[in-house]
Structure formats: structure tokens, C-alpha cells
């Protein structure tokens, strides 16, 4: 077991998959000569050359579409967006081309393509650079969406994404790239569509993904000090969603709080609440609570930004509400 950063775990996944399959290539802004805006692709240009590590102009729509076309032509593109905020410019290609190709061609043309990059807020990047897009993306049939929170999951899920014959969205995090964690040696694959119980508990389930795993784990520690046993369920995949894992946990704890990065309206948490009320209604002892970003564009000011984000304190307060402790 090696200790790696999330960044290096992604780098390993890319390197191993490119060694394994010559049809895999990486395309995006600054991925080659500059070694990646966040250094995820460090060293890959030297190893694989400019044919497979392709620097693009700043033209998200265009290079995302070229990636889709390359997938139609039998390659396995990995398209890196410097952030998902910029990928909004490429949504036409992700939604109208990649996600629909198999269906509208009557099953003839599948789409083995990965779109990846950091999602959600970092620190003080203000409104246009601090957005979590997962509910937009997970809304679309024909896409798979994963959001790993740890280096091990980042490596294992990116490898699965590259081997998948469908378009897979990989949501990373600028604030996660430096995170260190143990990554199993050798071939490490995490299947898409499986949640992971990151902490066992009996009183309340904290459902989270990506950066909110850290929020939920911290909240669980604080709750433990208050004699509340919180279970932390990391979704890892948002589409397909591991419904069985969510229901199993809620049936055990009878209470749930969803902690997510995005805005509240039509967010991922709303989907999870829908599932729980429908399939675990009789097991619920309290209405499910959601912790989200405040329903505003992200402010620049440090204090306002902190107030807008999900936090352990907010998650603890929500857990206490569903336990009727306050």
C-alpha cells in the first residue's frame, strides 16, 4: 500500500491505462508541455509523446466535440477540462453528442470517452469558478457520473471510467488534488455504481460524495463526542446511484442527512431524498435533512464564502435535528 496524493493517483491511473491500451489518449488545455494546470498529467508527454498527450487551444466546445468524433472513430479519449466551470461551454457535445450517440444510432455507435476535471468550489475563486455541476450531469441518461473523494477511489474510478464503453464524467476537486491517502498496490479498480461505507455508525446516516466526504467525516467525529454514532456513506458514483447501499444504511439508522456541494434546488440530495421517502418510508424516524451550498452564487469574501459552503458544523446541526436532540 503506497501513500499517494489524489493528483498522483489520477496520474497513475492515466499512465497505466495509456500503457495498457494504445487507443487511449489525453486531450485538453495545458495537459502536455505545461504538465497539466493541476499537474495531473505530469510526465505523460515525455512518456507518450504529443500524439497521445494533446495540448489544445482554449476551445472547450471544439475539443470536446473532437473527442466525441475520435471515440466514434474507435479511440478512447480522455478529455480534461481545466475546470467544470469551463466545461459548461462544451455541454452541447457532452449532452447532445456523447450521451445520445448510442441511442439515436439505434445501438450502432458507443462512446468510450471520459470527460474529467475539477468540480465545485476551491478557495475565494468567486462566482464563475466555484460551481458544482453534478446534478446537471447526473440528470442526463446516457452518461455515467463519478465523484471520487479519496486517492484510492480517484485511481480506481478513473481506471474504470477509461475502460468503460460509455461516456463517463469524472468530477475531481481542486481542493482534493493535494489530499494524501493509501492506494492499494498493483491493479486497483473501483467499479462504477458502488457506494462505499467510509465510517460505520448506528444513529444517523450522513450521505456524501467528493469534497463533502471530509465534511461528513469531521461531522461524525464531532457527533461521536456528543455520543451520536454517525454512519458515513460515500456515494462515489452519482449515476448510476448505489440505491441499495443508501437504503441499507437508512434502514439501519432510520435517519439521514445528505451533505452535498451543489445548490439546493433540484440538487443531487433531492434525488436521494426521493429514493429514501419512496423505498424506506416505513424505516424513517425523521424527515431527511439536506446540507447544500447556500442558494446564491459563490461570493468572493472569505467569510461569506465560508458561510455559503457545507460545513461539519452545519452537518452536525442537521444530524441533531433528525435525532430530535435540539
Amino acid at each position: 500500500m503506497a501513500t499517494l496524493t489524489y493528483r498522483d493517483a489520477l496520474n497513475q491511473a492515466l499512465r497505466e491505462e495509456m500503457q495498457r491500451d494504445p487507443n487511449v489518449f489525453l486531450m485538453g488545455e495545458e495537459v502536455g508541455v505545461y504538465q497539466g494546470a493541476y499537474k495531473v498529467s505530469r510526465g505523460l508527454l515525455e512518456e507518450f509523446g504529443p500524439q497521445r498527450i494533446v495540448d489544445t487551444p482554449i476551445a472547450e466546445l471544439g475539443f470536446a466535440g473532437i473527442g466525441v468524433g475520435a471515440a466514434m472513430g474507435g479511440l478512447r479519449p480522455v478529455i480534461e477540462f481545466m475546470t467544470w466551470n469551463f466545461a459548461v461551454l462544451a455541454l452541447d457535445q457532452i449532452v447532445n453528442s456523447a450521451a445520445k450517440m448510442l441511442y439515436m444510432s439505434g445501438g450502432q455507435i458507443n462512446m468510450p470517452i471520459v470527460f474529467r476535471g475539477p468540480n465545485g468550489a476551491a478557495l475565494q475563486l468567486s462566482s464563475q469558478h466555484s460551481q458544482a455541476w453534478e446534478s446537471w450531469l447526473a440528470h442526463i441518461p446516457g452518461l455515467k457520473v463519478v465523484a471520487p473523494a479519496t486517492p484510492a477511489d480517484a485511481k480506481g474510478l478513473l481506471k474504470s471510467a477509461i475502460r468503460d464503453n460509455n461516456p463517463v464524467i469524472v468530477l475531481e476537486g481542486e481542493m482534493l488534488y493535494n489530499l494524501k491517502g493509501d492506494v492499494p498496490d498493483g491493479e486497483h479498480i473501483v467499479p462504477i455504481g458502488r457506494a462505499d461505507l467510509k465510517r460505520e455508525g448506528t444513529d444517523v446516516t450522513l450521505v456524501c460524495h467528493s469534497k463533502t466526504l471530509a465534511v461528513a467525516l469531521k461531522a461524525a467525529e464531532q457527533l461521536a463526542e456528543q455520543n451520536v454514532s454517525a454512519e458515513v456513506l460515500d456515494l462515489r458514483s452519482l449515476r448510476p446511484l448505489d440505491e441499495a447501499a443508501i437504503l441499507e444504511s437508512v434502514k439501519k439508522t432510520n435517519r439521514a442527512v445528505v451533505v452535498e456541494e451543489g445548490w439546493p434546488h433540484a440538487g443531487i440530495g433531492a434525488q436521494i431524498v426521493d429514493l429514501i421517502q419512496r423505498d424506506a418510508f416505513d424505516d424513517l424516524d425523521a424527515p431527511v435533512q439536506r446540507i447544500t451550498q447556500a442558494d446564491v452564487p459563490m461570493p468572493y469574501n472569505k467569510l461569506l464564502e465560508r458561510a455559503a459552503k457545507a460545513s461539519p458544523e452545519k452537518a452536525v446541526a442537521a444530524a441533531r435535528r433528525v435525532l430530535y436532540l435540539d
Binding site: M72, G73, G107, G142
Partner: protein, 335 residues
């Protein structure tokens, strides 16, 4: 000019060339009659949704595709019935797709705007104006990556030239030297908007200068001119891996789609009639008659044969089953 007044030809066309010209005539007639039948079927409610016909533009698809190898890629906008037929999808499978039937080339899931036949290199039918232009470059990227020497022809209308994807893609195709031909079918109108009303640069070929790309302005009412220009572009793509922008000036006789008027607020009936006088099929048929390759009786026989083929396609589509209800949930993802 009459045949007797003409300067005698220096040499008669070669048998191969004559054969090609006859094939082109047949293909243009196939598209014409297919589209006429589609219009009828649409009026009868057998075809739904949007249906964009190719009547008037036949010389473009036929001339361009004649310059391709079988394994070359073709990718189109939603006005693609003609290219689909010429790339080798049967009239039966195209008509059945328009009818939404299980026997259609996209199993009835795509419809008029999403015809596909991956095995024949026909990569769709795409419905968002200009959205498929990067896909065309991507297919060429894959061919170059794999060293297959395939060429991609990407058809789009003049209105797509105002879309960002056009400019982003031409830039990258030129920087990366991709074996792709951007074939702009300039039929003058984006739906009901004349191009000159919404475009600062109306000679589309000029856009190639911005991207240091080869370009040609082509008469799209003459199938042989389209063929020759495309051959030059194919050569450039296949041998040198250089992209080309072709602006092919053509004209659609019908409205933008079946639900739109033929003329009225945006163009006059006189204009449409004037363009019909330049009809690409009459032009080629006239030339072949002048050259003594075909006479009226043979032309009539050919016409009748194609009518029968198209009638049979309608019958096939009519008789074909709808997709099974379970098909609703298939082809969303692969395993």
C-alpha cells in the same frame, strides 16, 4: 447552344467516365424521387417530427461522395437523406427510419435527423446546427492517429458558419493537419433568414484564410464540378493530411423543413423558379443526351425504375413493424 452548333469534342469521354456520369444521374434521381415520396408520406402523416428535404441540392451529395473511398467517413447535419442513400444505406432502410420503424437504419430511434450506418462509414445525421462539425474533425483525428488514410467529409449548411464550433474546429483541424473536408452547402437561407442578413463575410471560402486552410468555391448545381473539387480536396487530405474548406453554392427548392413554406416572406416564388432552371439533374441529363450517351427513352426507363425502387421503399416502410415496446430502454448504455 445546340449539338450541331458545337465545336466537335477533341475526344469522347472514356467509358469509365460515362459510366460514372450515368451512375451520378441515377443517384441524383434516386434522391429526388425519394424526397418527393418522403414529402408525400409526411403529408399523409406517416412521417412525423422534422423532415428536411434535399431537393435541389442533389448534385452536392452525389458529386462529393463519388470522390470517396468506401471506408471514408461521412458526417452530416439533419438534411442528410441524400448522403445516407449515396453512402449505401438502402432506400428501404432510410424510408423505414423516416417512418420510425424497427427496420430503419437507426431502428426507428433516430428518425429523419439521425440516420446512421456505422459499418458503411455514415456517421449520422446530427440535429444541432454546427454541433457535428467538431465530430467530423474527431473522426479525422482518429483516422490519422490510427494511420488508416481514411478521409472524412463533414457536410453542413451555411448557417452553421456563424456557430462557434465551426471556427474552433477549423482552427484545430488546421493546427493538427487533419484529413477532413469541411463541405459547406450554401443554400442561401438558414431556415427563413438570408445568409447576407446575418453574416458579415458572405463568401464562406474566405473564412479559410483565418485558419490557413485550402479552400474552393464550387458550383453546387453541377455535379461534375462538385466531384472534381472534392477529388482535389480528398487528394490533399489523403496524401498530405491537410484539411480543406469547400463552399458549395446550391439551392433548396423546398422549405427549410416540411412544416415550412417554400417561399413567401423570405424569398420570392420567382427566385425559386429561376433556380429551378439551373436544376442539377436536368443539367446532367441534358449533357448526357447531348453527348449521345443516353436518349429520352432510356432516361424515361431509368426514371421509371427509380420510381419503382422508391415506391417499394415506401411499401417496405409501411409494412415494417414498429419497434418492440422494450426497445424504449435499450441502447442507452452498453455493457
Amino acid at each position: 447552344m445546340t449539338a450541331t452548333a458545337r465545336t466537335p469534342r477533341q475526344s469522347a469521354p472514356s467509358p469509365q467516365l460515362t459510366e460514372l456520369h450515368l451512375k451520378m444521374l441515377r443517384q441524383m434521381l434516386l434522391i429526388r424521387h425519394f424526397e418527393e415520396k418522403a414529402a408525400e408520406a409526411y403529408a399523409l402523416g406517416k412521417i412525423g417530427g422534422f423532415c428536411h428535404l434535399y431537393i435541389g441540392q442533389e448534385a452536392v451529395a452525389v458529386g462529393a461522395l463519388a470522390a470517396l473511398r468506401d471506408d471514408d467517413y461521412v458526417i452530416c447535419s439533419y438534411r442528410e437523406h441524400g448522403q445516407a442513400l449515396i453512402k449505401g444505406i438502402s432506400a428501404n432502410a432510410v424510408m423505414a427510419e423516416l417512418f420510425g420503424k424497427a427496420t430503419g437504419c437507426s431502428k426507428g430511434k433516430g428518425g429523419s435527423m439521425h440516420l446512421f450506418d456505422a459499418k458503411r462509414g455514415f456517421m449520422g445525421g446530427h440535429g444541432i446546427v454546427g454541433g457535428h462539425i467538431p465530430l467530423g474533425a474527431g473522426l479525422a483525428f482518429a483516422s490519422k492517429y490510427k494511420g488508416t488514410e481514411q478521409v472524412t467529409v463533414c457536410f453542413f449548411g451555411e448557417a452553421a458558419v456563424n456557430i462557434g464550433a465551426f471556427h474552433e474546429t477549423l482552427n484545430m483541424a488546421s493546427v493538427w493537419k487533419l484529413p477532413v473536408i469541411f463541405l459547406c452547402e450554401n443554400n442561401r437561407y438558414g431556415m427563413g433568414t438570408a445568409f447576407e442578413r446575418v453574416a458579415a463575410v458572405t463568401d464562406i471560402v474566405e473564412h479559410a484564410c483565418s485558419y490557413d486552410m485550402a479552400a474552393e468555391l464550387v458550383d453546387g448545381m453541377n455535379v461534375l464540378t462538385v466531384y472534381d473539387a472534392t477529388r482535389r480536396a480528398v487528394e490533399r487530405a489523403r496524401k498530405q493530411s491537410h484539411p480543406t474548406l469547400l463552399e458549395v453554392r446550391t439551392y433548396r427548392y423546398m422549405g427549410h423543413s416540411m412544416s415550412d413554406p417554400l417561399h413567401g416572406v423570405y424569398r420570392t416564388k420567382d427566385e425559386v423558379e429561376e433556380q429551378k432552371a439551373r436544376d442539377p439533374i436536368s443539367h446532367l441529363a441534358g449533357k448526357l443526351k447531348e453527348d449521345g450517351v443516353i436518349d429520352q427513352a432510356a432516361l424515361d426507363a431509368l426514371d421509371a425504375e427509380i420510381h419503382a425502387e422508391v415506391e417499394a421503399a415506401v411499401k417496405f416502410a409501411d409494412d415494417s413493424p414498429d419497434p418492440e415496446p422494450g426497445e424504449l430502454f435499450t441502447d442507452v448504455l452498453v455493457d
